[in-house]
């Protein structure tokens, strides 16, 4: 496998600056189309959130990116290498978690990592290997773990162990499928901070999740998949753009509503959603205050990721399929 290592050095990122690029990728399992004509573009250094309901083809896509599942149609390029033919050249630079962690249950977490490390192509001396294992255990908060077999681990610990395995290579690209499954809120925050830290150090993060909040809290770019099709791919800031309305909070909603008349689009208790007038928020604030309507707050209304996703996607494909089956 030492020849692999030299080849790996030649596999530099493409000039386009994309670490993952797919064109028209389709995967059929029998008559079922799991992934349908997907074009992904993941820029170097991005934190890319791959969002979709359960059963929408996220995991199949992730598996195709890693060469585990072969695409029926389409082209995949990861770190400049075509997948699956050349994927082995770049896999040493990729850290991955696919569909939950997995480990040999009768061995300790440390032994599991050591075995995983030893089966990879980068064969350091044993001393350095032990050091590498300790390092990643520390990073994921498992440094204090003892010689208990993985069988006795909680789901959260297994998840951390899986993450540690993904970090063994010091990867340039992290491909993580639902990495915070089974973690408590504290653990989720820790993993998020870790990923942001790694990303700041230059690692591109590709994260798939069905949890909107997770993607919203972590990612800079979002790709939304629904029933195998990519329905949206954009920067998160652009997705959550202003709606052109202002949100007014006031202790006197009746006065404000009377004053603004037909500009009021929605009204909930002390909050009014108002079509933006010329002059923007500052003009509206002056207008209200001059006419004796006190203000508690005034802000631009932005679309939430949730609104966008719900508008773009149907109900979870699992339920949709179940409904079709019933019909």
């Amino acid at each position: 496998m030492s020849t692999r290592e030299t080849q790996r050095i030649d596999a530099r990122p493409p000039s386009s600056g994309l670490v993952i690029e797919t064109r028209g990728v389709t995967k059929r399992f029998g008559s079922h189309v799991a992934v349908d004509d997907v074009d992904l573009h993941v820029a170097e250094g991005a934190r890319y959130g791959f969002l979709g309901p359960n059963g929408s083809g996220k995991t199949t896509m992730v598996r195709m990116l890693l060469g585990l599942v072969y695409a029926t149609r389409g082209e995949i390029t990861v770190l400049g290498a075509t997948v699956p033919n050349r994927v082995a050249d770049v896999l040493p630079e990729i850290g991955a978690m696919v569909e939950g962690p997995a480990a040999y249950p009768h061995l300790s977490g440390r032994t599991n990592l050591a075995l995983l490390d030893a089966s990879g192509p980068r064969r350091g001396r044993d001393g350095r290997r032990r050091q590498r294992v300790e390092e990643v255990l520390e990073r994921v908060g498992l440094a204090a773990v003892d010689r208990r077999p993985v069988r006795t681990y909680s789901l959260g610990m297994r998840q951390r162990l899986g993450l540690a395995g993904a970090l063994l290579n010091r990867p340039r690209l992290l491909v993580l499928d639902e990495p915070t499954n089974g973690l408590d809120p504290h653990g989720i925050r820790e993993v998020r901070d870790l990923l942001i830290e790694l990303n700041a150090a230059g690692t591109t993060v590709f994260l798939s999740s069905h949890l909107l909040a997770e993607i919203e809290a972590l990612c800079t770019t979002v790709g939304v998949v629904d029933r195998g099709r990519l329905v949206l791919e954009d920067a998160l800031d652009a997705v959550r753009g202003p709606t052109g309305r202002l949100v007014v909070r006031t202790p006197d909603p009746d006065g404000a509503a009377r004053l603004l008349g037909r500009a009021v689009a929605e009204r909930h208790d002390h909050t009014l959603v108002v079509d933006a007038a010329p002059g923007g928020p500052s003009a509206l604030a002056r207008h209200l205050v001059e006419h004796g309507v006190p203000l508690d707050g005034l802000a631009e209304q932005r679309r939430s990721l949730e609104d966008v996703v719900v508008a773009l996607t149907g109900p979870g494909s699992d339920t949709a399929r179940a409904r079709e089956a019933r019909a």
């Binding site: 496998m1 585990l68 082995a88 040493p92 991955a96 962690p101 997995a102 040999y104 089966s119 990879g120």
Partner: protein
Amino acid sequence: MIRVELIKLAGRPRTWVAIGLLCLLPAVVAVFLATTRISPPPGQGAAFLSAVLQSGSLYPAAALALVLPIFLPVAVAVVAGDAVAGESSQGTLRYLLVRPVRRTALLGAKLVAIVVFVVVAVLSVAGTSYVVGVSLFGAGDPVAVVRALPEVTGGDDAVAGAGPAGGQQPASAGGQVGGSDASQSGAQPGADTGDSTAVADDQAARERAQSSVSSLSGEALGPADLAARLLGAMGYVVVSMLGVAAIALFLSTVTASSLGATLGALAALITSQVLVSLDAASSVTPYLPTRYWLAWVDFFRDPIFLRDITSGLWLQAGYVVVLMLAAWANFTTKDVTS
């Protein structure tokens, strides 16, 4: 990768339990023989069992005869059937493949690990049974080994082998453990054709067995000679298991269920053993994986009888090549969705 596979195999308690059980069966039989001193008549029961009372140093050979028909292939099928399917159902396969480990390299490493397992198992069985045999029966005079074997008759050539095939058919474990069941007369090649059917009269079987022994001229085997023959037999038994290993490993790449792969391989073996003993299937008999399993006994003939041994080696090589190619073709083009 081979090193990692060996560590994984050695780290599983199951591996050692299997080897322990393999060693246990001959030890149990030895204890019965030593306490009762009732040995099966020559030519009956598992090969060599009749001779071990005179020479405990033959007991490794008797032990091989005991574990070969069922215990050893079961152990091999369990380990080989679990090789890929176990990783797959455990989820560790995907993490190995993205390390990356090449699929071809993984398959090769698995095969090597299985072979090492078989070698260790056979060595353990031979080693423990030597200790057990010598301590219970004394070292004795190994000449009995040759005397214990029936003659190789003209009826034992490969094609007509369907006739004495009943003798090739490994006797059931029950018959071997009991060691005195007259119907299990033929664990050796060359036993008379009628041996495959139940022989009601114990005395008749005894006479027949004795007549075949009397026609042999056996020279005393020196310790070095015996060790060499034993090593040859052990090597041949290891090779005999490769066909099972290849079948189970191939099935292991097809299904995600270790149990399915193991049982599939065992079903293939049982089918083979049934057909080997069936005269009507004589056209396919020479190609069945268990056909030459018992040819290791020929290492103890004087001179060593090589025809069946050679055929057995070629046959097993054929099974390994064909099935490993099939496993490779299947595994390298397969979607890993577990």
